[in-house]
Symmetry: C2
């Protein structure tokens, strides 16, 4: 009776209903109560948890990290408050800044290629004055993921 059905929660949080079960499997969403017939009944907070998950994801945390963050939150209520979250946020900020630096270098390279008027990839590879980075394969990707901008 009291409690939200999975469809209602999914709709309220703007996620797919399957995603709820997926998050439950992944440990992000606590297992809710059930009706006698086995249908899930969520407390209203579940919607908040979903919003939190989405916000954290948006900030660059993976689902595993979010699960960890939530778990830490559940246990910190005794002991020192919030050091874990702040530490992880700082680490994530460094990660994001590194990614920005990486992408900035990529943008610079693209601008250089445009300025130089590169006309053909294969032709450019033969020219020494071409700004495209044909050499640093191994080294360029060390320290940051192989730059995919979806």
């Amino acid at each position: 009776m009291n409690g939200l059905r999975s469809g209602q929660v999914a709709h309220a949080a703007g996620v797919n209903q399957q995603t709820l079960r997926y998050y439950e499997r992944r440990g992000l969403l606590a297992e809710p109560g059930r009706t006698p017939g086995g249908h899930r009944l969520y407390p209203a907070e579940a919607v908040t948890v979903l919003r939190v998950i989405k916000a954290a994801q948006r900030l660059g945390f993976s689902l595993e990290e979010v699960a960890d963050l939530l778990e830490t939150g559940r246990h910190h209520h005794r002991g020192q408050s919030g050091a874990g979250l702040r530490q992880r946020a700082a680490a994530k900020l460094a990660e994001v800044e590194a990614k920005i630096a990486d992408l900035s270098a990529i943008a610079d390279t693209l601008r250089a290629a445009l300025d130089a008027g590169c006309a053909d990839l294969m032709d450019c590879a033969a020219l020494p004055q071409c700004p495209l980075p044909f050499a640093e394969l191994a080294e360029a990707t060390a320290g940051s993921a192989p730059a995919r901008v979806p």
Copy 2:
């Protein structure tokens, strides 16, 4: 006799040998000649092609886009030179710049959360002064991919 074996090409370009066949399937690498026994024999340019692929990938192009870029390169040699590449580079630059803007906003948010001393995700979600973006689920991800920083 003359020509490189797949292992040599893979080693020279710093990629896995399976990756060569994968690129061949994807149309990035032309099918090379074969020995009478069926072993691949690559021309020396294959290594250059691989370097070009890796460089383009590094600049944010997907394999499909790279395949397209190389294909365009092969055909432009009659007709107007290099308009395709420059156009795509400009589009990719815009994409990368958008991604940088997105990540900058994320970094700002993380900094705000650190400044505000956010201690717990779930607690913060209840506080109106928390800078974390718990609301804009649908809207925040429209126009850019759901921010994953690997």
